[in-house]
């Protein structure tokens, strides 16, 4: 039987050819099957000439990268949540490297550390991110809860601390970060403000200080007490969660011994063949040694049930049944019946699926899945999703656990980590093809899956300096094509950041959204190109951005020249200038000899002048421009206006009345209104005002003035160019029927009826209408007849009309 109930699981045999003992190296392994960082020849080897080597290995022991350690004395190594390596030096500097030993940045844990040195350091993870805590030579703790948003906090002094505490750790709870430390027989809790005793008489050894990061254990309450019976303190001590019982155990490691202690009085001891390093995981502990990489965990219930010797659990029976079935034995039926009689088949299938997830051996996974699939056949409507999902997940897990990849995730860890993060980690390891294949296999939406990974790939690709721009650009375009959600401008930005401007431009060409190209082009000082792209994008804001950029970048002349070739930008800039910088607008028009617009600008400017002199001067300028523009009409109109302005000034001075801002018409009208008929006449001649206009103007003004005498005189001065109906109309408008009547007879016959109607002389109107034998006019008069007073007249009209219609 393949019964498998060992809590030890060999993940990989390590082939990293480590000669040194692990205890001679500074080691850090990232959780979730993460990489292992190793610095050989550390403190113990004091030969200053020997450069220690910083190496990063995958969990399977494959060297990812190495770099000679040139910086100062290293105290501690640790991994961030994003799989960056933190190297904490004695002087308090923290260097950040990526997975491939490429230096990213550095920061310092404060000046105070420079003198006192860092004695010990720890990297910890909280909900805010990754933090660093240090213990300085002055026996003070300092910490930063998030290295991406560095805020150093120096914790208060621990009273009575004479030497480094035998053990300490960082706790994060309720958004507060604290340090827990053991000193003598007491356990202290150090927070922002104070240091308090948590437990007195903490046993006699004073080194046991594994602290629950999870709140299942009430504060300050003793979780368990266990006497190991070993005098030396353990080298390492980590929590080990037991998923099945949801309880915790502590794993302690000595040089050659491993002990698992739970909250009972028993313990399990294992003998270690080699010096080992413990990596706590969500559901167990990874144990690293020079030759092997193992995983110690509690057997999950499903596996236990199935593989326990002589188990009668439904899953175990189903597994048996399937095996018998393959052997074509009738025992298969017996087993199956046994399950079905208890109606436990769904549980059996579920158990097999679940157990498959916990297996690392593909063969075992397969046989369990086969059993599940076999059992499923005898069930109606068993939802297939769980089975399908498990098959998919296992394929992914098997792929990443492969020796070459070396990410030994368990199913539980994988679910906790999520596929998105896993993909990110593959991208970090530059395992693009695998990541893409996983995306495709899981049919992830392009935006989150393939596109994102391709974009990362492209960003990496542009850093390959050995290939020509052309090659790289083509390779990228070939792979990426028009994949949705790819931002070529992001990739181009990366290329530019790597100092490859030409490549960036080539890549930008592939960017379909022209607006996206603009910011980078500007950054690369390709403003003219940017202008074209901004215009293409149809986003006027973008055009403005570029125009303003150009304005600062170029000298005025070439700035204008650039704009001349881009009408859209030019008109936008003109709009801007029209309201903000009129002088610039003048320069713009000057540049392309647009005298018409220049003239217009002068005219416009002229109206801002309150004083006549200023206005005349502005108009004079306009006049010159209009002549240059060969716009005779505008020139003449302006000339006339200047003439009028001068005259108006004269009038203003003489008559002490404002004339400025009046049109010619209004000027003359005002003169007449004020009785200056001579002057009005003068203007009429000087400005060659058309007769018709002058007559209209004059009779209106006279009527408004009520100067009926003058009006009559005027009407007789010569034959009216506008006829005499207007006289009637104007008089009626000013409610003077008496005057109106005077002019009615002088109205030509075709308008006479209307004139008489206007003055209210229906009698005469009727007469005229009948005389002209005009039916429409008769009706007009009729409509004005009121039945009471004009009865006779109405009758007469009706008769005449009837007669007319008869004909």
């Amino acid at each position: 039987q393949t019964g498998y109930t060992e809590p030890w699981l060999e993940l990989y045999s390590m082939e990293w050819g480590l000669r040194e003992d692990l205890r001679d190296c500074v080691v850090a392994a990232a959780p979730y099957g993460g990489p292992i960082a190793l610095l050989r020849n550390s403190r113990r080897d004091k030969t200053p000439s020997a450069r220690p080597l910083l190496e990063i290995y995958s969990a399977s022991g494959l060297l990812l990268a190495s770099v000679p350690w040139k910086s100062g004395q290293l105290v501690h190594l640790g991994w961030t949540a994003g799989e960056d390596l933190l190297c904490i030096q004695e002087d308090g500097t923290v260097l950040v490297y990526n997975l491939f030993c490429e230096f990213k940045r550095h920061f310092s844990m404060g000046n105070e550390v420079l003198q006192n040195h860092v004695l010990e350091a720890q990297v910890f993870h909280t909900e805010f991110g990754t933090g660093v805590a240090i213990l300085t030579g002055a026996l003070r703790f300092s910490l930063a809860t998030n290295i991406d948003d560095l805020k150093l906090r120096r914790l208060p002094e621990v009273p009575g601390l004479q030497k480094p505490p035998p053990c300490w750790t960082v706790l994060a709870q309720d958004r507060v970060t604290m340090v827990l430390l053991a000193m003598g027989q007491e356990l202290f809790l150090l927070d922002n403000t104070s240091c308090s005793v948590l437990v007195r008489h903490f046993g006699n050894l004073g080194w046991a200080c594994a602290v629950s990061a999870v709140t299942t254990v009430p504060w300050g309450e003793k979780f368990c007490e266990f006497n190991t019976g070993i005098r030396s303190p353990p080298k390492q001590m980590v929590w080990c969660t037991r998923p099945r019982s949801r309880q915790r155990a502590v794993v302690l490691a000595w040089e050659r011994q491993l002990m698992v202690v739970g909250n009972s009085s028993e313990s399990i001891r294992f003998v270690l063949d080699e010096d080992s390093y413990l990596v706590p995981e969500l559901d167990g502990v990874r144990i690293l040694s020079r030759s092997s990489h193992e995983f110690l965990h509690e057997i999950p219930e499903a596996s236990q049930e199935i593989f326990r010797i002589a188990s009668m659990a439904p899953g175990a029976l189903l597994l048996e049944a399937q095996k018998e079935y393959e052997k074509e034995s009738q025992k298969a039926d017996e087993y199956l019946r046994e399950i079905r009689e208890q109606q436990l088949l769904p549980e059996a299938v579920g158990q097999c699926i679940e157990a498959a997830g916990y297996e690392h051996e593909p063969d075992t996974q397969k046989s369990l899945l086969r059993a599940a699939s076999f059992g499923k056949c005898f069930l109606d409507k068993f939802p297939p999703e769980g089975f399908v999902r498990m098959c998919q997940d296992l394929r992914v897990l098997n792929a990443i656990r492969d020796y070459q990849i070396g990410i030994p995730l368990t199913f539980t860890q994988y679910k906790q980590l999520t596929i998105e993060v896993l993909l990110d980690r593959l991208v970090l390891r530059r395992l693009y093809p695998l990541a893409i294949r996983i995306c495709e296999f899981l049919r992830l939406p392009e935006m989150q899956g393939v596109s994102r990974i391709l974009a990362h790939w492209a960003c990496y690709k542009v850093q390959q300096k050995d290939k020509s721009d052309e090659e790289v650009a083509q390779a990228i375009n070939q792979k990426l094509g028009d994949t949705a959600g790819i931002s070529y401008s992001d990739i181009a930005t990366r290329a530019y950041d790597c100092g490859r401007a030409e490549l960036a431009i080539k890549l930008l060409e592939y960017e379909p959204r022209s607006g996206e190209q603009v910011p980078l082009l500007l950054k690369m000082k390709r403003s003219k190109l940017a202008l074209g792209k901004a215009i293409e994008s149809g986003d006027t804001d973008l055009v403005y951005t570029v125009v303003l950029h150009l304005k600062n970048e170029l000298n005025r002349g070439s700035f204008f020249m650039t704009l001349q070739n881009q009408p859209v930008a030019l008109s936008l800039y003109r709009q801007f200038c029209r309201h903000q910088e009129r002088e610039t607008l003048k320069d713009l028009y000057n540049q392309d000899d647009n005298h018409q617009e220049l003239g217009n600008l002068h005219v416009l400017g002229g109206y801002c002048q309150r004083r006549i002199e200023g206005r005349v001067a502005a108009l004079q300028n306009a006049l010159d421009e209009f002549y240059k523009a060969k716009n005779d009409f505008a020139a003449k109109a302006t000339e006339e206006q200047i003439k009028l302005l001068r005259l108006q000034r004269h009038l203003q001075e003489e008559l002490d009345k404002p004339y400025l801002d009046l049109s010619l018409h209004d000027t003359v009208a005002t003169l007449i209104l004020d009785g200056h008929h001579k002057r009005a006449e003068q203007l009429y001649r000087d400005f060659r005002i058309p007769d018709k206009r002058y007559w209209w103007l004059k009779i209106n003004a006279l009527a408004t003035r009520g100067d009926w005498e003058e009006m009559e005189k005027f009407s007789k001065s010569k034959k009216s160019p506008i006829g005499y109906l207007p006289f009637v109309e104007v008089a009626v408008k000013h409610h003077n029927r008496y005057e109106a009547k005077k002019y009615a007879p002088r109205v030509p016959p075709e308008q006479r009826v209307k004139a008489f109607v206007l003055v209210g002389d229906l009698e005469q109107a009727a007469e005229a209408a009948i005389e002209r034998k005009n039916e429409a006019e008769m009706s007009l008069v009729l409509s004005r007849c009121s039945p009471g007073t004009d009865g006779a007249l109405a009758e007469r009209l009706n008769r005449a009309r009837a007669q007319l219609l008869k004909k």
């Binding site: 006027t540 973008l542 936008l572 309201h579 416009l604 109109a637 302006t638 006339e640 049109s663 018409h665």
Partner: protein
């Protein structure tokens, strides 16, 4: 906190001019009371009705600084914040003093079938200044409608701006997540049209009731202020004009001549309903009071308002020889007695009837005649300057640039070469890069188009305005609005086939795109819904005409316009105000 609301744009030459359309009335919750201090020195709202907001608000802030007051300021930009506005704030040195927000306000439903973007400045900015800034908001508005009502089946359009807006919208759709996809389409067709395709219709005097009310009283954001002469009291009343108004909804699309008859009929009916009270017993009376009386009273109130409005319109129109103006307009449209019309216009100017009206008639003359004869062009302009002031020299320059008032040049016809060139520039990139002043010196070709499309109905007998037979009724039976005719023709032909000559005369830039995703299923209800998009504004007459067409054809038109416009608004947009 001080709120400064308004829309972004440039300060007009005379900064601080009250803003038409958008502004206070469109921005609920922001009271346009400048400088009213709320609790703790905060200002509840200020200067909502201010255009050229940035400059003005900078002045406000600086003025406060000078007087030693310190306040918090917030500027809300609508529909979007422009980079240039920030620049202005920065240059004025107040950038740090204000916080900005955007109110992505694209669509204001004025009625159940009219959506306005309330961008009256679109017309001048785009068609005169060649400023493309508003194309983006239009594209975004389309995107919004698309996301709300599903994909449009078929898109038609004419005009360069229409084309650019359409293309930008398509780009936006492509860039955005494809959420709207798969929605059942509710709008079958969308028709985009540039205002410069048809200036004539917008320049005509309106004679349908809603148009007349707009021409006479100015409808702002779907509501109108009826002054004391209408309300026959000493107060003005603000009235919402939309389909909720039972009286208005029945007369809005009618020719004015039918309105009085309808209103008197209506008042008789109303009286009859009131009269039913007599002879009721207590219970019936109770029902009457509780159920009908309120409605009747409401209707009564509206009826009296509209009758008042009619009277007021009548009074104003007869004073200005409305009939004669209409007559002159009609002869311009038909192309008869041009000499006489020209003298009519001249007299109009000489008598200083109204600067805007005179200008409108001049433009109408120019656009229908493909430009004025040089002699008339000069003399009319001279007369105008003498009458209304020399600063209109700039107005004429604007009108020439936009193509509304031009001079005929010798041998004015669109040659084959020219049309070829215009074909070439329809290529997208070229279209954007070649001249931004797309309207510059374009020809209207109105006469030829009118003949082709039969815009002037042949009159056999009296045109019955009460029982209209075509869209011409909105202009007293004298003229079918060109814009509406194009829409009708294109929808009928489901494209531009057969209209090649018209398109050529309209200077091209037409397009017709089917969305392959939306199947051309004639059974779908959405085929009956057409979104008519007017870039640069549409008039109530056009709306009435298309509503009529919709009724005739059994379909429904929805209007999306950058603003409601009329001849006066268009002219005012062109007039260069004195600083």
């Amino acid at each position: 906190m001080r709120f400064i609301a308004g829309e972004c744009g440039w300060p007009p030459a005379g900064a601080g001019a009250p803003l038409e359309g958008r502004g206070a009335s469109a921005a609920p919750g922001i009271t346009p009371v400048p400088g009213v201090s709320g609790p703790g020195g905060a200002v509840a709202g200020a200067g909502a009705a201010v255009q050229g907001l940035c400059g003005v608000s900078a002045d406000i802030v600086n003025a406060d600084k000078m007087s030693g007051r310190s306040r918090k300021y917030k500027i809300i930009f609508s529909p979007q914040k422009f980079y240039a506005c920030e620049m202005v704030l920065e240059e004025e040195g107040v950038f740090g003093d204000v916080t900005c927000d955007e109110w992505s306000f694209y669509l204001l439903p004025l009625d159940e079938d009219i959506i306005s973007m309330e961008l009256p400045e679109f017309f001048r900015d785009y068609f005169l200044e060649g400023d493309h800034r508003w194309i983006n908001p239009v594209a975004r508005a389309l995107q919004l409608l698309n996301s709300l009502y599903g994909p449009f089946g078929k898109s038609y359009g004419i005009g360069r701006c229409a084309k650019m807006s359409y293309e930008l919208w398509r780009d936006l759709e492509e860039e955005s997540d494809t959420e709207g996809q798969g929605r059942k389409p509710e709008i079958g067709h969308v028709f985009l049209m540039d205002r410069d395709t048809d200036y004539v219709t917008a320049l005509c005097s309106q004679v349908v009731y809603e148009g007349l009310v707009d021409d006479t009283f100015r409808i702002k954001c779907g509501s109108v202020d009826f002054g004391p002469d209408v309300t026959s009291s000493d107060k003005s009343i603000k009235v919402l004009l939309n389909s909720q108004d039972k009286v208005f909804s029945q007369i809005r699309n009618e020719h004015f001549s039918s309105v009085f008859g309808f209103l008197s009929q209506k008042s008789r009916n109303l009286q009859a309903q009131y009269d039913r009270r007599r002879g009721m017993d207590i219970k019936q009376m109770k029902d009457f009071v509780s159920q009908e009386l309120k409605g009747l009273k409401q209707e009564h109130r509206l009826l009296s308002l509209h009758i008042g409005a009619c009277e007021s319109i009548m009074k104003k129109k007869t004073k200005q020889d409305f009939q004669e103006t209409i007559k002159a307009e009609h002869s311009l449209l038909e192309g008869f007695d041009i000499r006489e019309s020209t003298s009519f216009i001249e007299e109009h100017i000489d008598r200083q009837v109204s600067p805007v009206e005179s200008l409108r008639l001049m433009c109408l003359l120019s656009i229908t005649e493909n430009g004025l004869v040089p002699k008339d062009y000069r003399s009319l302009k001279t007369q105008y300057l003498q009458s209304y002031g020399p600063e209109h020299l700039l107005t004429f320059h604007n009108l020439k640039r936009i193509g509304l008032l031009t001079e005929q040049a010798a041998g004015e016809t669109l040659t084959a070469v020219e049309s070829k060139v215009s074909k070439l520039v329809t290529d997208r990139a070229a279209g954007k890069i070649t001249d931004a002043f797309n309207s510059l010196a374009r020809k209207s070709n109105f006469r030829a188009i009118s003949k082709k499309l039969g815009l002037i109905p042949r009159l056999d007998g009296e045109y019955d305005l009460k029982m209209p037979r075509d869209m011409a009724y909105v202009f007293g039976g004298a003229y079918v609005p060109l814009s509406c005719k194009i829409i009708e023709q294109v929808l009928e032909r489901r494209g531009w086939q057969g209209l090649e000559e018209v398109v050529r005369l309209l200077n091209g830039n037409e397009f017709c795109v089917s969305d392959s995703a939306v199947e051309d299923n004639p059974a779908w209800e959405c085929q009956r819904v057409i979104l008519a998009v007017f870039l640069g504004g549409c008039t109530f007459s056009e709306i009435a005409a298309l509503r009529f067409l919709g009724k005739e054809r059994g379909c429904k038109f929805i209007f999306l316009t950058t603003a409601i416009t009329n001849s006066a608004r268009m002219m005012e947009a062109m007039i260069e105000a004195k600083a």
